[in-house]
Structures are given as structure tokens and as C-alpha cells.
Symmetry: C2
Subunit: 98 residues, 2 copies
């Protein structure tokens, strides 16, 4: 499992009053994350009906490299910069089956 490509979907729900701050920090996070080892795809979306809801569709070269990303500086910086601005984050690690 650890050496296989892994897909991740992360939903980020911003507090309504903080959505611009969260969006700005997410855009910054995309730039930084794409330079990380093992990052194949890191695409940021915003829900068409709920502007507070953002979603990443990510592909990583392995589960372990994805875990490295979670511990790396850019995500730590993002968490610090958006402290108190996020309502909820839901992360799903997925296997591509077809």
C-alpha cells in the first residue's frame, strides 16, 4: 500500500466571515505544495452553491509522501494562518478503482 499512488479528497469549510482569508491562504498553499516531493496533482475547487466550501483533489506518488506533506512546512504555515477561520476539514484517502 505504502508505495502505491494514493488519491486524497479534502473538504475545507471556512467560517462565512473568513472565506476570503481562507481562499487566499489555500491559493498560496497550492503553489507551495506542488513543489513537494511526490505531489502529482493538487487541484483546488470551490463549491458552486456554497462559497465557504473548498475541495482539494490530490494525487500523491505514495501514502508515505502524502504523510510527509501533512507534516511539512507549507501545511503547518496554512494551519497557523487560518487558525480560528475554519469550521471543519474532512479528509478521505482513496483507492482509484476504475
Amino acid at each position: 500500500m505504502s508505495n502505491q499512488e494514493t488519491t486524497v479528497v479534502a473538504k475545507i469549510l471556512a467560517k462565512p466571515s473568513q472565506k476570503e482569508l481562507v481562499r487566499f491562504q489555500l491559493l498560496k498553499l497550492v503553489e507551495e505544495t506542488r513543489t513537494e516531493e511526490g505531489c502529482i496533482l493538487y487541484d483546488l475547487h470551490q463549491d458552486s452553491k456554497n462559497e465557504n466550501l473548498f475541495l482539494f483533489y490530490e494525487k500523491w506518488a505514495s501514502h508515505d509522501l502524502w504523510q510527509d506533506h501533512i507534516k511539512a512546512k507549507p501545511l503547518k504555515r496554512f494551519r497557523k494562518a487560518t487558525k480560528g477561520a475554519i469550521e471543519e476539514i474532512i479528509v478521505n484517502e482513496l483507492a482509484h478503482i476504475k
Copy 2:
């Protein structure tokens, strides 16, 4: 909006006792949907920690063609074949922002 490419994420949570039936029907749905007009991407995943949870990452040529897919025969057939077997479906239409 209607003529722009649209991204969709659909989460399908199967009832635990019905996950094999739902998986089988989802695999069938993939084959059929990929032949539909406007279908750019229709990728099926299964959650690594929760085998009852499936997720589609979809790209459609326009919002309207995605709507056509929702009304088309393959999805109707899928709904009929999985009646009573699904706990919850959550669909998000998204704009790709970066």
C-alpha cells in the same frame, strides 16, 4: 456558467451489507457513463478506511451536459438496481479555481 467545464464530486455511502452490490453497479455505471456526451472524466474511488464509501471525481464539458447525465438511462438504471442499498449520496458541483 452553463457552457463552462464543470467538476463534480459525488460521495456514495453504501449500507454495509450491500457494499458488494453497490460496488458492482458502480463499476457498470462507469462504463456506461464514459460513453455519454460531455463526459471528460468519471473516476471511481473507494475509501481506504471505510469500504462502504465510494467517491466519483467527474469532469463534464458543461453544467447542462452533466444535468443530461443525471436524467439519462444509466443513472436511472443504477438507482433502480441499488434501491434500498444506499445510505447516503452527497453531490457537490465545483468550480476549479487553481
